[in-house]
């Protein structure tokens, strides 16, 4: 039995995210006003047999826990 899972990875709060800042500055140029606190992260989708292994996968490879937070869906 397998299940399809998603891991959302984002820069830790407090870590400067220049990608997010760049997107935030670009949006008003297209007429989108009132957007703030843009953060850019990463999405990993995977099919797993044993989803209990996911946290360890995240800690050891999918993220660098020093600089990134993750959420498993």
């Amino acid at each position: 039995v397998t299940s399809r899972k998603r891991v959302l990875i984002r820069p830790k709060a407090g870590i400067l995210d220049p990608q997010g800042q760049t997107v935030e500055r670009a949006l008003p140029a297209l007429g989108f006003e009132g957007v703030s606190e843009v953060r850019v992260g990463r999405l990993v989708e995977l099919t797993v047999e044993d989803e209990s292994q996911l946290p360890e996968m995240c800690e050891r490879l999918l993220t660098n826990p020093l600089i990134e937070d993750y959420e498993i869906e």
Partner: protein
Amino acid sequence: VTRFGVVRFPGSCDDVDALLAARRYGDGELLWHGDRDLKGVDAVVIPGGFSYGDYLRVGAIARFSPVMEAVAEFAADGGPVLGICNGFQVLCEAHLLPGALLPNTSLRFIARQVDIVVANAASPFTRAAAEGERLSIPVKHTTGRYYHPDPDGSVGDIAGVSNEAGNVLGLMPHPEHAVDPLTGSSDGGKLFESMALAQAPA
């Protein structure tokens, strides 16, 4: 004669310059990422480039290569390990150095000649230099913003970081690109010369 081992990952691109730099001060040979064997070398250089395509995060995949298991043991035994640029990133991911490297604030690739100041001339990587000496060495990277959660996040104005024991050093500047006056500076040779001196019998 000091034997330098230069690691080659798929995607390494400064391995040949590092090998040529090492051979000015000793013998040098390439160490293949898939081999757990360091061939009895006296010092290890992890060169710059884009190991495993920098997939996922810089250094994240390279960290699990067989050669890095051997490098971790070598470092634990006190062997000198110099990681340059991507090599620095790999050493951080491998937890042989503290901290992590983040994308440049500008998001731009930075390539320029910089002066680095020798803060400690007693290390195995700097003993051929003088304390306070300025070395002119190029940088070229996109992911060079050093981060350490303690004391206050990004640390400004540093070229590199060593482990507590002092035998593992990560550098963003590329000493291997500055070993001949023909390229504008030969100051980078001081690092390779230091590593060779460190291995010479007293």
